[in-house]
């Protein structure tokens, strides 16, 4: 059935290199790394794999070296890894890391990612752990492959391993340069047949050690991303581009207000649309299915259905949200984390500051609405998706539909951004359900209004902070209390909490408590109390205000409050904000100075890169004219990565318009794999944070989300872009030359302090402290006027 489908180029390229020799086929038939039919040697690669669609699809065995690495007869290699790349260049970085361990040139390699039947389950993307966590087994298995190849070469060349060296896939005798053998001549097209060990995939290892950092050659190079050319010349086949014979198009019809119950559907309202196939409904889930895409869109608009609104309002209007958060009874509260004697410190403080900070719900609102295509051919289920957690999608769908896991596979392909728990989870289940119902391949894409209104939201937060300064302006006490709407926080690909499951009336047996995060404080604050409370909205299920992970799930909110308040304390103490922070970090005594040293290095690097940092307290002296300029600093840690960020802003006093003119970022994520890819990820992470600082806010009345498109839910645009961005990569490790310098994650850290840096800069420019994000011009103008009056 699926013989004409188009596959990711990486898979095609890998397959097209296959030599149809007997040994090759034996390898493929038995390895489990690739599932191929026999006797198709002359068929182009894509079709070979397509014909394997009959399944079943067992999990590739991560304890087999052949699952990870295939050496081809032309002395190239393909790496198979269980991660996905949302455009941050992790695929390129994985190749660099594995090339170095295997002594292959970058150009000799290709990479296949994230498809459940061809790559080992490393969980897909999330948590910025690709390089930090998953890169480690990749390096170890590549090192193991090198060890095995050197042993085979020793036998072939009759030379001890100690006298062999490998370079660009060729093993040469150091004693006799005339003696050499290519990897391809040792295992090209054949199995390694080497078992690995490890209790879980992250622990996967052979017996070989990885190289010391000093011997890495490909790592550290600013190699261009391999996926970019096809993204700019129109040749890439995206998940949204896959077409299958007999494919139908579906669109969802959502309840008109949250919590509405479906009473009836008038199918005659759409039956006359050419190409109409069927209305499918189950509980409150409704979809229309047509032969062509535009027909399905029309049918979804035109379908008449009667709904009963809920008896009680599902949520307060967004204008009343923070009053609601502050007055609601928490569903859970954390025990306060306390250091020192906070009450006594406040009693003896020379000055006490208090402030409330607020961050609304913000969404992923992908540029391309959520998409999936499911194919039920051959009594199997194949899902084409850009879901960053393709493995979870596969398992979740199998559970949801009651199918054996090995009859479901997800083919991961490029798609729009996936910064967290997006609707690409939800739509995968919808496509699978509809394909199962219709018995034909079904392609589903959400419409703009669904993506903006129904996509999961980053939790809304209200904070209360108190700080005490002594007579010398030293911070002696800090009390932090957060409240987050985060009850029933959605996990990834859970068959009982994805939107279709909720609308069908399924409910989880255990509801996720959610969490209100506290800052990871690296400051030496002698008396400190940190508390978090979770609150719930009145309606928990079938609501568009579902909370889930959005890039650095709680970081931007928490850091806005915490680093904003630290800035307030510095200003109250009449201290320079950088010097105030440096002293606080220096006072930290935790973890043998590892974090302290790296924090100090990063803060100093940011100030140095800024150039001409004038030591002075904020705010700056106001000038004549409407444009006021100022600088704002924020610093934070995320996992093991540390960042300091400085924003220069211009605020128009007459209009409230804020332009972040310049950004300076100092960033330490340990060993840099690819400085160019890293800098671009840092840059775009900052600007995504800037969009959240300036624009993003999900708005709603008390029955539905009213942010439904780019007019009602503005995002950052070209005109908001800074004029200059400077990024400094810092290695602040206390032992910077250590051979095992770790590589940490970088997908979220620079995103985290952005709201705080902008708020601090606006204060420096205007003397007005904004404690509620985002800083749209109306809110800024209102605050400026309030200060004047």
């Amino acid at each position: 059935m699926s013989t004409t489908l188009q596959l990711p180029q990486a898979i095609e390229a890998a397959l097209q290199r296959l030599n149809p020799s007997t040994s090759r086929r034996n390898f493929l038939a038995s390895s489990g790394a690739l599932v191929l039919s026999l006797g198709l040697g002359t068929v182009p690669g894509a079709r070979v794999l397509a014909q394997a669609a009959a399944g079943p699809y067992p999990d590739p065995d991560f304890l087999q070296l052949d699952t990870w690495i295939v050496i081809h007869p032309d002395n190239t290699a393909t790496f198979f890894v269980g991660k996905t790349d949302g455009g941050q260049g992790t695929g390129t970085a994985f190749r660099q890391m594995m090339c170095d361990e295997l002594d292959l040139a970058y150009e000799q390699t290709s990479l296949v990612m994230g498809s459940t039947d061809t790559t080992p389950d490393q969980g897909g993307s999330g948590g910025s752990d690709a390089i930090e966590t998953d890169g480690k087994p990749m390096r170890r298995v590549a090192a193991e492959a090198r060890r095995v190849l050197l042993e085979l070469a020793a036998e072939r060349l009759n030379t001890p391993v100690a006298q062999l060296t490998a370079n660009n896939g060729i093993v040469t005798s150091t004693a006799d340069a005339g003696k050499s053998v290519r990897y391809a001549d040792l295992v090209g097209g054949k199995r390694f047949d080497v078992a690995l060990t490890g209790q879980n995939i992250n622990a996967t290892t052979g017996t070989a050690a990885v190289k010391p950092v000093q011997q890495l050659r490909v790592v550290g190079k600013p190699l261009p991303r391999y996926d970019i050319p096809a993204k700019v010349d129109g040749s890439l086949t995206w998940a949204v581009d896959v077409k299958l014979p007999g494919m139908l198009h579906a669109r969802n019809v959502r309840p008109p207000v949250a919590g509405a119950q479906l009473r009836s559907i008038d199918e005659t309202s759409v039956a006359g649309i050419p190409g109409f196939v069927r209305v499918v409904s189950s509980g409150n889930y409704v979809a229309v299915v047509c032969e062509r895409e535009e027909q399905a869109i029309q049918a979804a608009r035109q379908l008449k259905a009667e709904w009963t609104p809920p008896a009680q309002a599902p949520f307060p209007a967004s204008n009343d949200l923070f009053d609601y958060i502050r007055s609601a009874t928490p569903t859970s509260s954390e025990e306060p984390q306390v250091t020192g004697d906070v009450a006594a410190a406040f009693t003896s403080a020379a000055a006490v500051l208090e402030a409330d900070y607020e961050v609304p719900f913000q969404g992923h609102t992908a540029i391309g609405p959520a998409f999936a295509l499911a194919d039920p051919s051959d009594n199997q289920l194949t899902i084409y998706s850009n879901d960053m957690k393709s493995y979870g999608l596969r398992t979740g769908v199998a559970t949801f539909l009651g199918l054996p896991r090995d009859r479901v596979r997800v083919i991961y392909m490029d798609g729009p951004q996936v910064y967290g728990r997006t609707a690409s989870d939800d739509v995968g289940f919808e496509a699978a359900f509809l394909a199962n119902e219709l018995g034909r391949p079904v392609r589903v894409q959400w419409m703009r209004h669904e993506e903006t209104a129904w996509d999961t939201k980053g939790p809304a937060y209200a904070f209360k902070l108190r700080g005490g300064l002594d007579a010398n302006g030293k911070l002696t006490a800090l009390d932090y209390e957060a409240r987050a709407i985060d009850y029933a926080h959605l996990g990834y690909n859970e068959p009982d909490t994805v939107l279709i499951a909720q609308l069908m009336g399924r409910r989880p047996t255990r509801i996720a408590e959610g969490g209100a995060a506290t800052p990871s404080v690296k400051y030496g604050i002698p008396n400190l109390s940190l508390t978090g409370h979770v609150v719930a909205l009145p309606m928990v299920w079938e609501t568009p205000l579902r909370t889930g992970n959005l890039r650095d799930p709680d970081g931007p909110q928490v850091t806005f409050a915490f680093e904003g308040f630290i800035d307030e304390l510095a200003a109250a103490a009449r201290r320079d904000p950088a010097e105030f922070r440096l002293e606080l970090v220096e006072a930290s005594t935790e973890d043998n100075a590892f974090r302290r040293n790296r924090s100090l290095a990063v803060l100093r690097a940011a100030v140095e890169a800024y150039g001409g940092w004038e030591s002075r307290p904020a705010p700056k002296q106001q000038t004549a004219g409407p444009i006021q300029s100022g600088r704002g600093l924020a610093y934070t840690y995320r996992s093991n990565t540390v960042v300091a960020l400085i924003a220069d802003v211009e605020v128009n006093r007459d209009t409230g318009h804020v332009w972040v003119k310049r950004l300076v970022c100092a960033h330490d994520c340990g060993l840099t794999i690819n400085p160019m890819g890293l800098k671009h990820t840092i840059e775009c992470g900052m600007l995504h944070g800037l969009s959240r600082a300036l624009w993003e806010e999900v708005q709603f009345d008390n029955e539905k989300v009213t942010s439904v498109d780019w007019a009602t839910h503005p995002s950052m645009r070209h005109s908001d872009t800074p004029e200059s961005i400077d990024i400094v990569l810092v290695n602040g490790d206390p032992n910077p030359d250590r051979p095992d310098l770790p590589h940490y994650g970088a997908g979220e850290t620079s995103h985290k302090p952005m709201i705080a840096a902008v708020a601090n800069a606006i204060f420096d420019a205007t003397g007005v402290r904004l404690r509620r994000a985002p800083f749209r011009k109306e809110r800024v103008l209102e605050a400026l006027r309030a200060k004047q009056s």
Binding site: S235, R292, E294, I367, H680, L687, S691, W710
Partner: protein
């Protein structure tokens, strides 16, 4: 349904469709093109942009029957196997993150430079304003456009000096 003739990237195609069908779905689903993509269906984001007779147009809201000119899509920017200078600059500056919006960014930039080959920074911002990116690659996009502008300025300069040498 009716048969409509479309000129796309220099080739003429006939499609039998409902004439009200937005051009986007015909380009993608009938002609198999992959450059223009669905982003909003409202003409707000630019992901579906194509160039029709020199103007950047949102194909998601344009009825196919209303199209009369020559349509260029992302696939049609390269000439004789050579990437358009903007596409090359996009690679040189490593512009995309996910890349889903980049069709709209490139096609909007192409129309901008065709109409104004040496835009100022402010004119770049203004000309590109309607093309949304949610990975926030705007800074890289500006760098890529400036690279093309400055390369073509250099090219003009070289042309001029060549001429002078030839005259000598």
């Amino acid at each position: 349904m009716s048969v409509i003739s479309l000129s796309v990237n220099g080739a003429v195609h006939e499609v039998d469709i409902d004439p009200a069908t937005p051009l986007l779905y015909v380009l993608r689903n009938d002609l198999g093109l992959r450059g223009p993509r669905f982003g909003c269906g409202l003409g707000q984001c630019g992901a579906c942009t194509v160039i029709i007779d020199g103007a950047a147009v949102r194909s998601c809201q344009l009825p196919t029957a209303a199209v009369s000119g020559n349509i260029t899509t992302l696939e049609g920017l390269a000439q004789n196997g050579n990437l358009h200078p903007l596409q090359q600059a996009w690679i040189d500056e490593q512009v995309p993150q996910c890349g889903y919006c980049q069709n709209g960014q490139l096609m909007t930039a192409k129309a901008l430079l065709d109409r104004n080959p040496s835009p100022t920074d402010a004119e770049i911002r203004e000309g590109m304003e309607g093309a949304l990116c949610r990975c926030m690659t705007y800074y890289r996009i500006h760098a890529a456009i400036k690279r093309v502008v400055s390369n073509s300025a250099t090219a003009l300069f070289i042309d001029a000096s060549d001429k002078t040498e030839a005259q000598v």
